[in-house]
């Protein structure tokens, strides 16, 4: 018993391989698209996980600090720290801004954190953590900054002392970690011109700048330019405590909104990136259908090209089963080689993408099954056609 498929493939190996490579690249694109989709939700989650935060406390009736604006006083943490089950708390501010780096602008999300408290980057790939309470920063490698470089955020220059990885916000912007006091100032004091203008505007107000009350103007000016707000309080719970229970306790007694990290992930994935994810999801679906259709067409035309040979086989008395097996095996082989090439291609070009591409094992498995099913279905059409071929055609036309 000889394997007809192997013989046939060996006969036109080059063409078969070229077809498989083309198919593979198409599958690679589909897998990458799935990776982009997964990477998007993973971006949203990566940072939440890396800060080691269990509960996010934000302004009451908001879904902050990412989905909505949230403002808390920076001494709110004291009341939270005293609650049962709370192990550590840290203030955090979030500010998306453009940072100038040489000739280009880099869009970053600046996170203000308190060194040694939750909110610190979980791990570094270079340098050291922030040690001074001012003017030092840890940045994600995506920013392109180097350790030792000085970058300007709003009014102050910061020295990059460490680099981290996979710390991006839901939009894929790399994060930069700076001390909280600086971040509060950066959020509020925009630039020197704005400050001077604001001061002059105040001085021009006769109700504030009153001749009989010296010092009033200075006091108001100072009160207006100091910022004691943060966007969220990050809570780490004590071992054995349930984040959901701690969050419920904060919600009930402190009149603040609190989310466990799982709830926060749902908010980010469910609201913040919902449309973008749906957009990509739908595109992925269409791409998958198109890929299946193309696989089917390729196998169909491959069979179409062999109709004469099949007629000859039939003429020499080959059984239908053998012919069907040949077409099915060839189709599955094509699918297998294509899938392997596609998966390798996706792995290789994935890291080049500007945003994170996450190729999950379950997506790969799912893609493999779908490819194989598509090949089987497509070969059915081919088999049906092959079986209807009249052996007489081998002699005629």
């Amino acid at each position: 018993m000889i394997n007809l498929a192997a013989r046939d493939v060996a006969h036109g190996f080059g063409r078969y391989l070229a077809t498989a490579v083309g198919l593979g690249l198409l599958i690679g694109v589909t897998l990458t698209m799935a990776g982009v989709y997964r990477g998007m939700s993973d971006d949203a989650r990566a940072f939440l996980r890396a800060t080691g935060t269990d509960v996010w406390v934000v302004q009451q009736h908001t879904l902050g600090p990412f989905a909505e604006a949230s403002t808390l006083h920076d001494d709110t943490w004291r009341a939270i720290r005293a609650l049962p089950g709370v192990s550590e708390v840290g203030n955090a501010t979030f500010l998306t801004t453009q940072v100038r780096h040489g000739e280009r602008w880099v869009r970053v999300m600046v996170l203000g954190f308190e060194p040694g408290r939750p909110g610190e980057p979980g791990y570094l790939v270079e340098g050291r953590p922030v040690a001074r309470s001012h003017y030092e920063a840890v940045a994600d490698v995506l920013t392109g900054f180097q350790v030792g470089e000085r970058v300007r955020i709003r009014r102050n220059e910061y020295t990059v002392v460490g680099l981290t990885r996979r710390m991006v916000n839901q939009a894929g912007d790399p994060m930069m970690f700076i001390p909280l006091r600086d971040a509060q100032e950066a959020q509020f004091l925009k630039d020197n011109e704005a400050i001077v203008n604001e001061r002059n505007r105040l001085a021009a107000n006769p109700r504030i700048n009153r001749p009989g009350v010296p010092g009033l103007l200075d006091t108001i000016s100072e009160a207006l330019t100091s910022n004691n707000n943060v966007n969220a309080v990050l809570v780490r719970v004590a071992p054995g405590a349930e984040p959901v229970e701690v969050a419920a306790n904060i919600k009930r007694w402190k009149h603040l909104q609190a989310f466990s990290t799982a709830e926060m992930e749902d908010i980010l994935v469910g609201t913040v990136i919902e449309r973008a994810a749906k957009q990509i999801g739908l595109f992925l679906l269409i791409l998958a259908f198109v890929s299946i259709a193309i696989v089917a067409f390729i196998i169909y035309t491959m069979t179409l090209g062999k109709l004469k040979e099949i007629a000859v086989l039939k003429l020499i008395g080959t059984r239908d089963r053998t012919i069907a097996a040949m077409i099915l095996q060839e189709a599955l082989g094509l699918g297998l080689i294509g899938f392997l090439i596609g998966r390798i291609a996706a792995t290789l070009w994935g890291p080049v993408f500007p945003r994170y591409v996450l190729l999950l094992v379950e997506d790969t498995a799912r893609g493999f099954v779908i490819t194989m099913l598509a090949c089987v279905l497509a070969s059915m059409v081919g088999i049906r056609m092959a079986l209807r071929v009249d052996p007489a055609e081998a002699i005629g036309g």
Partner: protein, 389 residues
């Protein structure tokens, strides 16, 4: 036949290569790849801890000079940057009618003195009249006793003497009143002169003028500053240091001060005072530092970064600060144990600004700890040790 066989071998080899490539990629770049980490040994080294703070250049002795009552500024004699001596007149307030009032009280005093002189003359006149009346009264009394004049005439003379005595008393009283008036007016004139002198704004010490806040013609209220003066020898840096790192700071600790205008070089200084009161809102301590040698020029309010040296620890066990992590509520380091990540609890002490952490307990010299990782570690995660993750 031979070519078919070779083709088959080629095909199988190709398929195997494809699968091998996929497997290799999956275990190096893909989902099954171990996390790449870099390690560093625990070292015994001297540790030079320090505390960092940010502050502003201020003058410990600063004076706000202004009038004690509302008025208009008449003349300003000094300007920003002038060095002034103690007692020097810096500015004068408009006296309005004070000079006229001084002149008026001078005239009134003169009049009171004249009145006193008139009263003295009246006394003399009254006393002289009384003398005559008394002599007459005595003479008539003797004559009446001898019966030369009637008793009635003698009584009349007696009464005249009493009347002139009363007139003399009255004259003396009006002299005392006139003298009292003169003394009162003298005091009043002194008060007006003092008020006039008080309109001069005088420097209390030797100092430098750092602000001239009012010009001639400006109306200022009582207590409003017209000048701000500082004593240049009292320039210091008022720095704010995170409470969490301020423990053990004391006066006399050596420090380095970097002014924003001179970021290249650090100026030597020392802690002059650690304020007992710290800022409750910002959770910072106020540390005042003085310069060992006063900078040649300074600008009050300039931003300064201070680094205060803490006592060095010789032969300390140190690890890079990047290695120290929190897992739950435990502080520790990650270590590689047969290719897997293991969290190792340690007790840490001081952390230096250069990124070194003092290990108090839990590690021995030469132990390797994970410093850099490409991803978040978890207990038992597979690792691959590389030089640069």
């Amino acid at each position: 036949m031979a070519t078919t066989k070779r083709k088959r071998i080629l095909f199988i080899a190709g398929a195997l290569a494809l699968i091998a490539a996929l497997a290799t990629l999956a275990t190096t770049l893909g989902p099954f790849a171990p996390i790449r980490v870099s390690v560093a040994p625990v070292q015994t080294a001297p540790l030079n801890p320090s505390v960092f703070g940010v502050g502003t250049l201020e003058a410990r002795l600063s004076y706000a000079v202004g009038p004690t009552q509302a008025g208009r500024v008449a003349r300003v004699h000094v300007d920003h940057g002038d060095a002034v001596k103690a007692g020097q007149t810096l500015a004068e307030m408009d006296p309005v009618d004070l000079a006229e009032r001084l002149a008026a009280s001078g005239s009134a005093l003169e009049r009171a003195r004249q009145s006193a002189r008139a009263a003295e003359a009246q006394i003399r006149e009254a006393e002289s009249r009384h003398q005559v009346a008394l002599t007459n009264a005595n003479r008539y009394r003797e004559l009446a006793q001898k019966g030369f004049v009637s008793k009635e005439l003698a009584d009349n003379r007696r009464s005249e003497a009493n009347v002139t005595a009363a007139a003399a008393d009255a004259a003396r009283a009006s002299l005392a009143a006139a003298q009292g008036d003169a003394a009162r007016l003298d005091s009043e004139r002194g008060a007006a002169a003092k008020q006039l002198a008080n309109l001069k704004l005088v420097s209390p010490v030797d100092a430098i003028v750092v602000a001239r806040l009012a010009e001639p013609g400006t109306t200022v209220v009582a207590g409003q500053a017209v000048f701000r003066l500082v004593d240049p020898s009292s320039v210091w840096v008022r720095a704010r240091v995170d409470q969490a790192r301020a423990g053990g700071l004391a006066a006399g600790d050596a420090a380095e001060i970097v002014l924003r205008s001179a970021q290249g070089g650090a100026l030597p200084g020392r802690v002059a005072r650690v304020d007992i009161e710290s800022d409750a809102v910002t959770e910072e301590r106020i540390v005042n530092l003085e310069f060992t040698t006063r900078p040649p020029s300074f600008s009050i309010g300039e931003l300064a970064e201070v680094t205060i040296r803490r006592p060095a620890v010789a032969n300390a066990l140190v690890v890079p600060s990047a290695a120290v992590k929190m897992l739950g509520d435990r502080r520790g380091v990650w270590r590689v144990d047969a290719g897997r990540a293991r969290f190792h609890r340690v007790k840490i002490g001081l952390q230096t600004l250069e990124g070194q952490t003092h290990v108090l307990e839990g590690l021995a010299p030469g132990d390797e700890v994970i410093v850099y990782t490409r991803a978040q570690l978890s207990e038992g995660a597979r690792l691959r040790v590389v030089v640069q993750p």
